[in-house]
């Protein structure tokens, strides 16, 4: 990139996108629990209330249905609310508002009342958090027509995807991999930019097997690819980025090329988003498949307490083992 860049963490990318979009468009509002004075429990909204005041950065009462429900109203009168749900495990009280209203408003109003609403939330495990703080529920949202579900895995994408989400006239569920909020930095342009929604990206090209992941799982996925490279297995790696509506072209092109696919996510396997991916690949690239698609996912259990979460979360070894199964098929 020729323009000015800074080294940012993923969460800094998010904060910067919020700040720049608020500067750019006075209709952008932030609301949620502890997003003001406290700057959010992860500090994603740090400094924003100081910059924009409490009419644009609203600390709300502790009620998720309320947060999303009033966001619907705010969007109806022309605002572009960015609501924070403190952890994905606490999105359930807002499910009625999200599924019965947010996702459907454009359609129910025959296109006249779109919902330019972003619902941000940290998701996923790996930080030794208490119960209900490690959930990944992209699948149930991905079964809901009308929603766009986005999960970045890098600082650059986090900023660009969030910018695109805020500018989108459709509601976006923006899931933030809190495990890697601060785990690395990368060059991020200082000015605003969009990373387009609905586009997956090939993170690494390869010929023997396709690894598909997103969010915090990109790290063990890339580690697995590197490990495999040392064993002379060439893995192509796809970062889904937009879970819904998903980018079928990028995924099928790779699956057709390698004929072997391993899908990785940390949510429970049964009826997880991996099911849709696996189904689509087998349905549309059957004759290219050299081995059954493999899914490496969280167990179909409650997400365990801190002492046990490392057993639960997919890791390099488990991904490599799945690749080896597809190679041995």
């Amino acid at each position: 990139m020729s323009e000015k860049t800074q080294k940012l963490t993923l969460i800094q990318g998010i904060t910067q996108a919020l700040r720049q979009e608020m500067e750019r468009d006075a209709h952008v509002l932030i609301l949620g629990e502890d997003v003001g004075r406290d700057g959010g429990v992860f500090r994603a909204t740090d400094g924003l209330i100081e910059a924009f005041g409490d009419e644009r950065v609203m600390d709300t009462p502790l009620a998720e249905s309320g947060i999303i429900g009033i966001s619907v109203g705010l969007a109806a009168v022309g605002y572009r609310p960015v609501a924070e749900i403190q952890f994905m495990g606490f999105i359930y009280p807002a499910m009625n508002q999200i599924l019965a209203h947010v996702a459907r408003f454009r359609h129910r109003s025959r296109g006249r009342i779109p919902m330019p609403l972003v619902i941000r939330m940290p998701y996923g495990g790996g930080i030794h958090a208490p119960e209900h703080h490690s959930e990944s529920y992209e699948a149930m949202l991905a079964n809901t027509p009308g929603l766009t579900v986005v999960i970045p895995s890098t600082p650059y994408d986090a900023k660009g995807l969030l910018t695109a989400a805020i500018r989108s006239d459709d509601p976006v569920i923006f899931m933030e991999p809190k495990r890697i909020y601060r785990s690395f930095r990368e060059d991020v342009p200082a000015t605003d930019y969009e990373v387009p929604l609905r586009q997956a990206v090939v993170r690494r090209t390869g010929t023997d097997v396709t690894l598909i992941g997103y969010g915090a799982m990109m790290r063990p996925v890339m580690e697995a690819a590197e490990f495999l490279a040392r064993e002379s297995v060439s893995a192509e790696v796809i970062d889904v980025r937009t879970v819904m509506p998903l980018d079928i072209e990028t995924i099928l092109a790779s699956a057709e090329k390698t004929g072997r696919v391993v899908i990785v996510h940390e949510a429970p396997g049964r009826n997880g988003f991996g099911a849709e991916l696996s189904a689509l690949i087998a349905e549309r690239a059957l004759l290219h498949l050299l081995a059954p698609v493999q899914r490496v996912t969280g167990f179909d259990t409650v997400f365990p307490f801190a002492m046990m979460e490392d057993h639960y979360l997919p890791h390099r070894g488990r991904i490599v083992a799945a690749v080896q199964r597809t190679l041995a098929f």
Partner: protein, 365 residues
């Protein structure tokens, strides 16, 4: 130390026009004869609309329908205070009276109940949200709109509608609480018709009234006889003035009665006694206003009859409009899900198009 009182509150109710058409002169609002007649006509118009809808449902010309019979005063008395240009209606599913009074074309309301999505959004401007079926959930939208109107410094107010049953949902609580905290320009307008389908209000809550709940959120509140169009008029005037003057949200409980079935899919005789229904029939909002207007010589029997005929003609015209709508386009299923259609919706649409094409061919067209 020891015991101290940290809260004291009271809640008031307003009654003006009694079941016999007598008014309390002291409480009478400042309102002229034309306005009185307009309120009466508005109620009769709703009733005529409603009766026609029930008839059409029986004839299979529309689908399941929710009657508002008995609730006309509760809707007409409020509607006159709302501006078509500025104010927002956030309806539940029994507010056709309000919609009609606010100028929504009646055939679009019928279309909604016919199962035609073109009836989902009133086409008289965007300041009316589509009906909300998930009970209570719309109240939060009313709060959000009311907050937005305040933020933007706009003159309008938001009116969120719900029934007595809806007040048991958590969203009622969150809507009033957020409205109190963020000083929403929102009127919460609860038509307490005594029943949530088969569940009487006494089983809905141990509290005696809904209005008293305002104290839980520091939201001022009033109960009103919802079958008394003059009391509704006056209470609504007070509440809307309060909100327009930036004094924050307001809660009105209009006590009324649903005279018929919950919807045409219901049979209210399973859970209500004829006596109870008769009790309320004697308190009909239109009858008592008619008695008053005739007693006051504002209305003659002949005028009354002429009004009935003109309303019937108006409603028949609306039915004609309804029935001359071209059939909805099946392709519209796919058109408004997203700003830009995803690939799988393109595929699904293509499939449906080809199905319809081959069916059309089969049928020889």
């Amino acid at each position: 130390m020891g015991y101290s009182t940290i809260f004291q509150g009271e809640t008031r109710r307003l009654d003006i026009l009694d079941m016999n058409g007598k008014v309390d002169r002291k409480a009478m609002p400042d309102i002229d004869q034309d306005q009185l007649m307009a309120l009466y006509r508005s109620m009769r118009r709703m009733r005529t609309f409603d009766e026609k809808a029930l008839k059409m449902q029986r004839q299979g010309r529309i689908g399941t329908y929710g009657s508002l019979r008995g609730q006309e005063a509760a809707q007409a008395g409020l509607a006159v205070h709302l501006s078509e240009d500025d104010d927002w209606l956030i309806q539940s599913f029994r507010e056709h009276g309000i919609l009609m009074a606010r100028g929504v074309p009646m055939h679009t309301i019928y279309a909604y109940w016919k199962g035609d999505e073109r009836g989902n959004l009133a086409d008289r401007g965007i300041r009316c949200l589509p009906p909300s079926v998930p009970v209570g959930s719309q109240l939060l939208h009313a709060t959000g709109i009311g907050i937005g109107l305040r933020k933007r410094g706009l003159p309008g107010i938001a009116v969120g509608f719900a029934g007595d049953g809806a007040t048991s949902e958590g969203d009622f609580h969150e809507a009033l609480n957020f409205a109190g905290v963020f000083r929403a320009r929102t009127l919460f307008y609860i038509q307490n018709n005594g029943w949530a389908i088969s569940v009487p209000f006494q089983k809905q809550t141990a509290a005696k009234t809904i209005a008293q709940r305002g104290h839980a959120y520091a939201v001022p509140a009033m109960q009103v006889d919802g079958n008394d169009v003059l009391a509704v008029y006056e209470a609504s005037r007070i509440a809307t003035d309060h909100i327009r003057n930036n004094h924050g949200p307001y809660l009105i409980e209009a006590e009324t009665f649903r005279m018929g079935d919950h919807t045409t899919a219901d049979d209210h005789t399973r859970y209500r006694s004829p006596d109870l229904v008769a009790h309320w029939a004697a308190r009909d909002p239109i009858d008592r206003m008619r008695k008053f207007l005739i007693k006051e010589k504002i209305l003659s029997h002949a005028d009354d009859e002429a009004m009935g005929e003109s309303l019937t003609a108006e409603i028949e015209a609306a039915v004609k409009d309804l029935e001359s709508m071209p059939p909805p386009d099946p392709m519209s299923i796919f058109e408004t899900m997203y700003a830009k259609k995803p690939w799988y919706l393109e595929e699904q649409q293509a499939m449906l198009r080809s199905e319809l094409g081959s069916r059309a061919q089969e049928s020889g067209s």
